[in-house]
Symmetry: D2
Subunit: 369 residues, 4 copies
């Protein structure tokens, strides 16, 4: 495969400021490195936060994009052996670049790697850090020696393949961390892409009662939640979620509650209220650094609740996510609402965040022309 | 042993209202029942809450006292076999009277028994519920068929024997629930009887760095914490606890944090701040039903913390607590500051709550004359 | 509902000796007791062992049958409240009668109850122990105060309802004990009723690769395993199971292996061989008390295997089993091969054990006429 | 520090064939590498196995020694940052050289690293693999980029420092893997260095009853076990271990059993017999690849035992082991019986294996002259 000299890329130069550029490909690929021809890059809520400039210490200019899927265009000998892939293979790339040497990496917690500083991972490095192509909003992505990647079948479309990211999150947050198992009752707060993927994870794990809540504006997403396996959905603007969960569970309340909603802190309190005594609450949504009101320590104590904050995802979850996508078991295409050309990245971000009147998106993937 | 016809008992008739009465002993003891001659009854913070009338639905008039130790005066045949004891044996009695049939009891969570309603246990039942002698502030205690009790050696003084209760709490909250193990760093917020017992539990579990915090007024308790095995103590009024824990741990912060402080919500936030990424926070203190200020969901998420509320204690913790008391390994007598006559119950309660100027108590036991 | 004075029952008087008798119903039902009109009673491998007299200390004469499903004919007031059922309700009854007071019962391990001696449970008590009706091979079953039972919908046929027992076993042994989760590879050794139920449990738990092994004579059962969700089946008489598992898993081997085969010890060695390094082996089959040949300690050490023996089942597994049966999600009727009249109990037992030439059974239920 | 051109080293050329050689130091140390001046190297049972040539695929000629402690003589810039040490620091070096990229390394199981083949670690690589100095029986040890090492205080003697290895094993095998906790009863089969270290680990973990078994010839070791904290010791040649454990535990038997004995398979059966129902057995001893006789599957099933094979150790255990050595809490010098000059390596090995009549060793360290 002969490679071009440059790659088109969307470069973010500051808050809400994106531009299309042509950047040079790495002059050479060392034995421990690789180069990915990007086929698609998924977009999630944190892409929009980054676009808004709400994350701390973003090293502009940079190429966003931390959910890339593509084809290995070039690969060094050592990397090929380590990663178990070769040129031409289709892979999904994890966002993180773990150091491999720190206490967390050694202990299997590379999500919490302390050997690399700040947000060090794809989508968060300056184009001035050689070789520059560190983001998925581009035709080509440099593959650093610390990359963690996973083969994914070519039978899946590139757009659906990028769902490895939210589905991995659903699997870790709604199954692995809380230990959801056969027969459990689970409440999922928030019906966005991570909420829907949590429904799938919970159903796969054998949960016998899956309840999803959302706002009135989420009507379509809640319908999709039911299609993916939710037994009940609750519009929290029209119904009292605590009372509804009590009715549905005949007073037993939820074994597990997962909050994947963004911004609003109310679901944190709802989570505590709908969990059963001895139940588990997973907090996975970021709330823009505002404090939670009405958080009562005594309620957590008296109910003997377990509350677990979760941030990242790792291969333990990405691997079953990829196998599940490949299986075709769920109509994931219904969750993937938009495939948008790389050049339209800004539109895509605004669309995801409901900035575009009259149009609603759940999952969006950017594809290079 | 010939029994008297009546038992002296302290009866609470309302908030801050106690009186000494003579109540009849049960006319007969059935095959599944027993009668305890109380040797001592421990007092803890919740006794004071009860005295103040701050607990909901207290069925006055009642005999308080949920930490009794005594001698079996009479016992039915079935009870003797079930409990594995006979008349004359010294035992420690658990406060709870689990139904044995509900989902929680069947599942080993009798702490959360839902088969009996309200605060059903020793110290919380009306004297009008036959046979009346339901509390440890008395010479005799009725032993209901649902009683959970544990033999305890006569080589221990009755007062020290009542420490089975706070030491059981320390073992469950500071070791079992968080899984404290060899080499861990643990921070214990609050140096009262449960905090001191948590120090002992953490030391027994092999924690290699035990840090205890308190107020300036807790100076004596903090000194005792060091004597029991704490490596460092922090006066939070004079020092910044977060900075001190950072210094002590060389930036690693705490694997486990246990909040056993009462009333103040600040330790909840301190707990979140001094825990390491991926660490565990145990919430064991009740805060008078006021909301926690400055609880940031995003911090729990970004640090991937696990927060566990804990309320009760069960035999898994009481048994090793009793063995530890019997071993004489720790100078527990230094924690037991006061033995007070039954008649002086009101004084004892006020003393524990610092209502008596110039005197300080850590652990108090009431003893019938 | 007016009750007859007597109940027909199959009484076992010794090894391979059964007779039909008429036994009196209890003269009265106390407040903590009940009476069940048996609708069906499942039969499993241990029924045959009992029939052969191979279990120790069987207190003949007795009524066998430990997997009964029926309708509450009469119930005391206390029992109704404890068990949450009333006369006319359909229930599945657990075999065990846990004491509720021993260390194991208190700790949630009532499967290992030490408060009652020997095989104390339905199907294993002498008819001379009042009130005599202790077994499921009868029209009526006495419900002791220690009974653990579960409501089950009348929309399910009685025969399928008795599958709560093997399906509960599948859920505990193939999911709960080994912690089988989304994406796991599991090998199930033995395609009998418990093996097939293990397939269902593993599939419900999200296992992405389920492999079942059997003998050539098990062809039909292996086909059914595939229908229930097994991805691969292995005839161990024609194929090398270790090599096949290596091929199927691309060298990764199995995360979890469950041995539910009876008598033969070879599957124990196969389990150790097909498990991956760090994998888990569940031993659930009884082997007639013969030692395992070629058990190499060094292999268990070098592979860092976890081996777990499992014996009983409890409500944690029976409850989701019943919900799954009620859901109608699996064609369980294909596993239930025979419904046989109570009078033909001996034939049923011989049929299950392949004593009847030319006929094969998987699951059999006895029904009173 | 100026370095010599060569290092003395003990080179094994075949079974029972050792010779002293002078080998060149690496010509240069790259940025990711280092060089250790060995201060002492511990010897354990597997050193003797290696000496006998009983391990498969030993790539002779090689320098044995996988428990080295020493001073960083030279270190590259990247390595210094990764490992958090600099020239002049005293460190303990783990035997394994994990690849950092395979599934096991990523998942925190670097003990089971599959990215490097065979016994790839210090003490097991040919001197023909550059730069040759791969073993601890030498004055200098090359530090490969994949090295895992830990700072250890200079206040500890080099010989005692090498106890990080068996003490790490004791902590992982007797505490971490079985989850030994406050109040547990533990039986340790075998009083060698790993057995004695298991006693220390169990005591640190708060086990309230520690029982150690050995042969009559182990009298001195058993006495030392009691000194380190064992409550009871059993000479299995004079006493029936099952009956003794029953007596000591008043019939409750052991929560946890750890077999650290070598060669004999009998302790495997003893472990199964002295474990309580629902207990855990850790198998840590290698038995020369002979099958276990009288291993009854049915006993493991009926007792619902958990059996765990354990092979290696990792930083989770080495770190608390080093902290414990530094604390000086235990008189470890009583376990360290011999410090022997590098040149006398062969004598040391024979001494450890009781080949030298009239002399007994527990722990031996080799020190370069």
């Amino acid at each position: 495969m002969s490679l071009p000299a440059t790659s088109r890329a969307i470069v973010q130069t500051g808050p809400r400021s994106l531009e299309l550029r042509e950047l040079p490909l790495p002059s050479s690929i060392g034995p421990e490195e690789g180069l990915l021809r990007v086929e698609a890059c998924g977009i999630c809520g944190s892409d929009y936060e980054q676009y808004q400039g709400l994350m701390p210490n973003l090293p502009f200019p940079l190429i966003p994009g931390h959910e890339p899927v593509g084809t290995i265009a070039e690969i060094g000998e050592v990397a090929a052996q380590r990663w178990g892939v070769r040129a031409g293979d289709r892979v999904a790339v994890e966002a993180l670049l773990p150091c491999g040497f720190c206490r967390q990496c050694r202990g299997g917690e590379y999500r919490l790697c302390s050997g690399r500083k700040g947000l060090s991972g794809y989508g968060y490095l300056s184009i001035e850090t050689p070789p520059g192509l560190w983001g998925g909003y581009a035709e080509y992505l440099y593959l650093d020696p610390h990359t963690v990647l996973h083969p994914i079948s070519r039978d899946v479309s590139p757009e659906l393949a990028t769902l490895f990211n939210p589905l991995g999150a659903g699997i870790r947050w709604a199954q692995q961390v809380p230990g959801t198992k056969l027969g459990d009752t689970i409440v999922i707060l928030g019906p966005g892409q991570r909420g829907l993927c949590s429904v799938i994870a919970a159903r796969e794990a054998g949960a016998s009662c899956i309840i999803v809540s959302g706002l009135s504006v989420d009507e379509r997403k809640l319908a999709l939640a039911r299609e993916f396996g939710a037994h009940h959905t609750i519009d929290v603007e029209r119904e009292d979620i605590v009372q509804r969960v009590r009715e549905i569970t005949d007073g037993a309340m939820a074994d597990i509650v997962v909050d994947v909603s963004a911004i609003s802190n109310e679901p944190v309190i709802q989570a505590i209220d709908v969990a059963r005594r001895g139940g588990t609450v997973v907090l996975a949504g970021m709330k823009g650094r505002r404090p939670v009101e009405n958080f009562y320590n005594d309620r957590v104590v008296a109910k003997e609740l377990t509350i677990k904050g979760v941030f990242g995802v790792d291969f333990h979850a990405y691997e079953p996510a990829i196998r599940l996508i490949e299986s075709g078991k769920y109509p994931l295409e219904k969750m993937h609402t938009h495939t948008i050309a790389l050049e339209e990245a800004e539109h895509a971000l605004q669309l995801l965040a409901r900035e575009i009147p009259g149009e609603e998106a759940i999952h969006i993937a950017l594809v290079p022309g």
